[in-house]
């Protein structure tokens, strides 16, 4: 029988520690265990064989750390020798009929983008290469193990699924708080990996069996898959930093016996365990009844670290990342102002959204490219799960592939052609998908028909192995002013989704009120009614107070807000807010000088009643900024205060700009800012940016780790006179020098100023920069000297 035929139906046993045994046999710190496949094959063979003999049904080939980053010269030889040794061991142990060999894939050793610098697809390819070599010799399954980053696990799973049909098992490594290093939890890991349709999941390494128990229970509660448990022989002890394990096999088996009473399917060990421990497990389980995994019904959306369950209390999905009807947002998309888009996301998170809808569809931009970029940037600043909102199949596929977690997808509908395109993507990557109950004949006007289409969609999804749990039916909120019974139809649809289909529902709530005055009144009351009729997910603007009022009141009244915690934390302080308002009598000048953002905005609004925007800028804003800037330069004010003033000024400028809508505001000039290639931190550059913007410059912010070519091309394309470059480390100053060299060659009239932690005047001279600016204020002065001088020449 194959591994897959037995998995989840009877006790199976994995092998135990490997590296820890090699260390006892003389493997040195920093020496790669996989080299022993070539240098000491007899020892590798012996470990593999002894595990088979002890009763392990699955033995890992010694390939855990094998990838092209660690073995650039002889990866194929390393991988294939490992698989050959495992096969030989199986033969010698007479386990050819009932023993299986796993290709063992561990972490790459690099951190994936956007937090680290390994591109996702490169990680996929690193794994594919190893898998390809192993398949040439032949293995029975693939184990992806000791994963501390769920995103890397996703890359490995995709590599496996795209290379072969072998079973894929994944075990992850939690710390003592039940978290992965990048923040994942048992629930988020289960959702992601079930979505990717792996065959079994579990835990290994880092903890002993005792510490793992609570996390195993959480996995069992959320997962329908067979669970693998491969703990260390207790927590590591350390002598001079060299780890060792001192839990005996009896103790180990004792704890594992408790675990065997839970709904787990495969037992084994990790660091510190030996064939003796595995033999103990096999003997212990002889008298233990096997509990096959039980199907669970959860509808879960996750990010890299958070999970949101649909079907408990209503979920708020923020709708603001969407260009429809938003001029500023459209501008931001066209100008590639990603930060504006990100700030829309963060604002909704602060307002109480649980999931963010992401829609960047505009005819004049490439939707797939933009969606992937915005999604990935959002995931670097917020841990909220995202709802990918697009009708473009390419954008759908690429964003679900790169998404870190299990996303929500908006949307599919009952049209056959749409289902034919969308379901294969959902089946491959996993997602909770929004389904609109409409089809080739349009939007049904009665709820019966909507329910009928919903059933058809469930059925079609099932063909792809997509569970009903992963489908959320849209109740279709139609404009009530054009059909006065439409709200009733929508509400009835919601009730029937809940009662007849036992399904989950979603609504774009504010559609209901188009064409009516004071839309928020209708919207917020409709939301309450919809929630009462079973709405699972509300797509709304969480910044709208009335909507959140309805939401919090509903939860409080329906016993879904424990101890009224959410309600109280949202409203208990409302009184004190009004008291604070008195402070807004402070002048704009003082507000900026003291760095009070809210006051600055209020004072600007007040000031605009009597004076125009330009006068405010010239008489209050700029003088305040200048005074703070001078204080910073002469050492009486330090950086945070300078920046608080800058933020206050920014808030004031925003109010003024709003008031001058339509009037072209004049910019002093365009400046490119970039942190050079190799540098992944850009706070210094961002500080400079805030200051320059306040002084009236247009900034083209190219971000960090920017290649010289990109900077040169942008300078040429936008005919930019000044480029500001930042470098943090001596190792990246060479890239700064190269950027300057290329600029001189291709755009000689552009000036370059440089700054950053390692920069000095001498260094700047050496690499041929036009100026060294030691801080943000010096950059402002230099920019003024460049642009004001040039103005004179005109």
């Amino acid at each position: 029988m194959s591994f897959k035929e037995r998995l989840g139906k009877e006790w199976l046993f994995w092998d135990g520690g490997f590296g820890s045994i090699l260390q006892e046999w003389g493997l040195k710190a920093g020496e790669k265990p996989e080299y022993w496949n070539l240098q000491h094959p007899e020892k590798i063979l012996r470990i593999n064989r002894e595990y088979f003999e002890a009763g392990s049904d699955v033995v890992n080939a010694n390939t855990f750390g094998a990838n092209a980053l660690r073995f650039p010269d002889n990866l194929k030889e390393i991988v294939q020798s490992a698989v050959r040794l495992a096969k030989k061991a199986r033969k010698e142990a007479h386990r050819e009929e009932d023993g299986y060999i796993a290709l063992d894939l561990g972490p790459t050793g690099k951190l994936l983008e956007p937090l680290g610098d390994l591109p996702f697809e490169k990680a996929v390819n690193l794994y594919k290469e190893v898998i390809g070599y192993a398949l040439e010799i032949g293995v029975d399954l693939i184990l992806i193990e000791t994963m501390t980053d769920a995103y890397e696990a996703k890359a490995a799973v995709l590599a496996a699924k795209e290379s072969c049909d072998l079973p894929v098992c994944v075990t992850v490594t939690f710390d003592e708080k039940g978290k992965l290093l990048t923040g994942g939890t048992p629930e988020s890991v289960v959702a992601l990996l079930e979505g990717l349709k792996v065959d079994a999941i579990g835990v290994n390494c880092s903890l002993g069996p005792k510490q793992m128990i609570p996390f195993i229970k959480r996995m069992i509660n959320s997962s329908s898959l067979p669970i693998i448990v491969n703990p260390n022989a207790g927590l590591p002890k350390s002598k001079d930093g060299h780890n060792y394990y001192d839990m005996t096999s009896e103790e180990f088996v004792g704890y594992m016996s408790e675990i065997a009473d839970l709904e787990v399917a495969v037992l084994g060990g990790c660091c510190g365990t030996t064939p003796e421990y595995i033999k103990g497990l096999v003997d212990m389980c002889k008298t233990k009844p096997f509990h096959p995994p039980v199907k669970k019904h959860h509808s879960v959306v996750t990010s890299f670290s958070q999970s949101v369950e649909i079907g408990k209390k209503p979920v708020i999905i923020g709708e603001r990342i969407n260009p429809t009807g938003k001029k500023k947002f459209k501008e931001a998309l066209k100008n590639h102002d990603i930060n504006y888009i990100l700030s829309q996301g963060l604002q909704q998170e602060d307002a109480g959204a649980h999931i963010l809808d992401v829609n960047v569809g505009l005819p004049e931009i490439n939707e797939a490219d933009t969606l992937v970029e915005v999604m990935s940037q959002l995931q670097s600043v917020t841990a909220l799960p995202l709802q990918i909102d697009t009708g473009d199949f390419e954008a759908m596929e690429r964003s679900l592939r790169l998404y870190n977690g299990k996303a929500m997808l908006n949307s599919v509908n009952g049209k056959q052609e749409i289902m034919d395109h969308v379901f294969p993507i959902v089946a491959k990557y996993g997602a909770v998908v929004v389904a609109l109950p409409l089809d080739e004949s349009g939007i049904p006007e009665i709820s019966e028909k909507r329910i009928e289409i919903a059933k058809k969609i469930y059925k079609e999804a099932e063909k792809y192995g997509i569970s009903k749990d992963d489908i959320v039916i849209d109740g279709l909120a139609m404009t009530v002013s054009s059909d006065s019974s439409s709200a009733l139809v929508t509400l009835e649809t919601l009730r029937r989704i809940r009662d007849e289909l036992q399904g989950h529902s979603i609504l774009g709530v504010s559609n209901i009120s188009f064409g009516l005055p004071q839309r928020k009144i209708i919207n917020s009351h409709f939301l309450t009614m919809a929630m009462h009729d079973g709405l699972s997910c509300a797509i709304i603007n969480p910044n709208a107070q009335d909507m959140m009022n309805s939401y919090r009141a509903y939860n409080a009244l329906t016993n879904q807000d424990e101890n009224f915690n959410e309600y109280i934390s949202a409203y208990a302080d409302v009184k004190t807010e009004t008291v604070k308002k008195a402070v807004s009598e402070m002048s704009l000048f003082d507000s900026v000088k003291r760095g009070l953002e809210k006051n600055a905005a209020a004072a600007t609004k007040e000031g605009l009643k009597e004076r125009d925007g330009l006068t405010l800028i010239n008489e209050e804003l700029i003088p305040a900024l200048d005074e703070v800037g001078k204080g910073f330069e002469n050492g009486s004010i330090f950086l945070p205060q300078l920046l608080m003033s800058a933020e206050a000024a920014k808030a004031a400028f925003a109010v003024i700009k709003e008031s001058m809508k339509g009037v072209e505001t004049e910019s002093k000039g365009k400046i490119i800012l970039a942190t050079v290639k190799g540098d992944v931190h850009d706070i210094g550059k961002n500080i400079v940016k805030v200051m320059l913007e306040n002084y009236g410059y247009d900034i083209i912010d190219l971000g960090k780790d920017v290649a010289p070519e990109v900077i040169v091309d942008t300078a040429i394309k936008n005919d930019v006179r000044l480029v500001g470059l930042s470098a943090l480390m001596t190792t990246t100053v060479v890239n700064m020098e190269e950027t300057i060299r290329q600029l001189r060659e291709k755009k000689p009239d552009t000036l370059v100023c440089v700054g950053g932690a390692v920069m000095t005047q001498d260094y700047a001279d050496q690499i041929g920069a036009d100026a060294y600016c030691k801080d943000a204020m010096e950059t402002v002065h230099y920019a003024d000297s460049v642009f004001i001088k040039n103005e004179g020449e005109k």
């Binding site: 680290g116 963060l346 945070p640 706070i683």
Partner: protein, 213 residues
Amino acid sequence: MKPIRKSEILRYLGYRKDMEINEHTDELIDQCIDELKKVINPQFVYKRFPVKRVDDTILIEGMSINSKALSKNLEGCNEVYLFAATVGIGVDQMIRRVEITNMAKAAIYQATGAEMVECVCDDLNDKLKEQAKEEHLYLKPRFSPGYGDTSLELQKDFERLLKMSEIGIHLTESLLMVPSKSVTAFIGITDYPQKSVSGCKACDKLDCPSRKE
């Protein structure tokens, strides 16, 4: 972890004695400290190795380092600790977030994160000092790759010998550490107490903006 020293955070932020801090800034700094405390995940790893010095070349477990500064630092040592410590990736995520919404907080988070990882290092340092004391041994001041005349390439040896990625410290192509608030260092072990300069005084980067007077 040791208590966070606000004075150090202020120093990283460029604060000098005669400056005045307004109330709002002071409140903001306290708020930032509280916020980061919620996301940090301090981790460290260390190992003890024999060390040999031949003139300015230092030999540790297959590494051969040519450096006057490190050689001076490890004078009289037969053994050395290598360690890596971090406060985790959560701090970087928080910094990225406020870089979009509030640069003042971004600067304060940076400084606070730096102080926090320093506290993790000091903790570990104290622990190792205690252990050394039991063996009647003494520790030298910490020395990190990149100090003086040492190359950042040494980071690769730390990665290999300590398996830093297991506690979540990764190197980029350009040898930066992610999480950014991470530290690697040597700590020499001697069998007699040493009066040696440490901290800023031991470093010859005289123009460093964070140098203590």
